[in-house]
Amino acid sequence: MIEVRGLSKRYGPTVAVHELSFDVRPGVVTGFLGPNGSGKSTTMRMVLGLDAPDAGQARIGGRRYRELRWPLREVGALLEARAFHPGRSGRAHLAALAASNGIARSRVEEVLGLVGLADVAGRRAGRFSLGMGQRLGIAAALLGDPGVLLLDEPVNGLDPEGIRWVRGLLRTLAAEGRTVFVSSHLIGEIARTAEQVVVIGRGRLLADTSVAELSARAPSLEEAFFALTDGSAEYRGALDPEGRTS
């Protein structure tokens, strides 16, 4: 269970997140949707205690992140594809993280097998492709067998087979009773994977509902999303979807 309450964050004059409140419940995949620059990553960093909020707080299982006793055994996070040192092997990267939280060394080989990196884990991670880096990040998130998972754009850089694998993995993890919170700018991906959805735009909450309910508002989830985020997209092209200049 993740509880976000009145979370706010500014970077200088820019409001990144504004009075954001929502819950992420266990047992289902919850999608986190929003246009680029809407504050998804900032929100996730604040939940993980990496960025300090200006106001509000986030709790995981009733506690703040910094109060967790064994953080990696309670929360697994994928924040960006390359949160590892390029000169270190994938195996050493995971071994270091495992050591920090008293996780058995055998678990490193287990997650390497799970994400399909067992054969290349001895190579320097700097030589990994984008997709392999993403798999290493997912392995790190799964390392402590955590009950809560936060994944920022997990399918970035993955091939179609990898995308399908992540989809199945997320559903399995949720079915096991875990809290799975996954951001994406790919609406179709969320439509296929998530049951619940939190939509933000310009750092503000736009919807906190089920995917079914949101999809029913328009002919498709995508159109419902655009109707919600209309006017809150930070960056957009000069042409609207029908090809007219806006």
Partner: protein, 258 residues
């Protein structure tokens, strides 16, 4: 899910230190830098020994001359231990694993400091014996049992470790590799050249002067213009520099977003 196991105990210094040791030893650059430093110190000791003409000079200090040159390398390695985490994004994985940030820096300092100390002592002792062995016939090599000799060799290694920790602290403060290295090189070497020209009063307090002219001497080094610190005072001042840079680094690490 390890919900039950996760409620027992919590992470402590030993786990964090184990993480930092795994990180440090799994980078090739760590071992390259240490190998080059030790080899350089030995090479210089031999070269200085072979060219010694004056048996009355402080031969121990001469044999440890290479330690001073290795300071730059160990300082840069200290910088990289910290800035490498920022340039790669690893810092977020580290701080998500261990949210207690001062504990992370303390573990880094302990693990890296011990490795630097071991390398520094190895460099010091091997250079001392190699330099002594390379002396020309007729000039007796200094022995560890003579007054002040063991102290000079041991403190040389300690100075090496402390300059490494200053690098680590600068890395935590500045976070960007090139800027932190520039400050380190500036502080340790360039300012020394500048101060040597402009004023002699500050000279004894410069890191390079402390290592070369306070820590590694058998006899107190003085000349007409400069009164260098005693070995123990030098160790104290250098330790203070390391403590201050690490303290400021820890303070900033807590306050800044990762």
């Amino acid at each position: 899910m390890t919900t039950t196991a996760a409620t027992r105990g919590r992470y402590r210094f030993s786990q964090v230190a184990r993480m930092e040791w795994t990180k440090l030893r799994s980078l090739r650059s760590t071992w390259w830098v240490l190998a080059v430093t030790v080899a350089g110190a030995i090479g210089i000791a031999v070269a200085v020994g072979l060219n010694t003409r004056d048996g009355a000079a402080d031969l121990t200090n001469n044999a440890l001359a290479g330690i001073s040159l290795g300071l730059l390398l160990i300082g840069v390695l200290g910088v990289l231990v910290m800035t490498g985490e920022y340039s790669s994004g690893m810092i977020r994985a580290t701080l998500a694993a261990i949210p207690n940030r001062p504990l992370v820096l303390a573990a880094k300092a302990a693990v890296f400091g011990l490795l630097a100390l071991a390398a520094g002592e190895a460099a010091g002792f091997i250079a001392f014996f190699a330099g002594g062995a390379a002396l020309p016939d007729g000039i007796p090599a200094p022995a560890l049992g003579q007054p002040g000799v063991l102290r000079a060799v041991v403190l040389g290694g300690a100075g090496f470790c402390l300059v490494g920790l200053i690098g680590l602290g600068l890395g935590a403060i500045i976070r960007h590799t090139p800027a932190a290295i520039a400050v380190l090189v500036g502080g340790v070497y360039v300012v020394a050249q500048f101060v040597a020209v402009v004023t002699h009063a500050l000279m004894p307090y410069l890191p390079i002067a402390i290592v070369a002219n306070s820590l590694t001497v058998v006899r107190p080094m003085t000349d007409d213009q400069v009164q260098f610190l005693s070995p123990w005072a030098g160790l104290g001042v250098l330790g203070l520099y390391a403590a201050v840079t690490l303290g400021v680094g820890a303070w900033l690490l807590v306050r800044r977003d990762a």
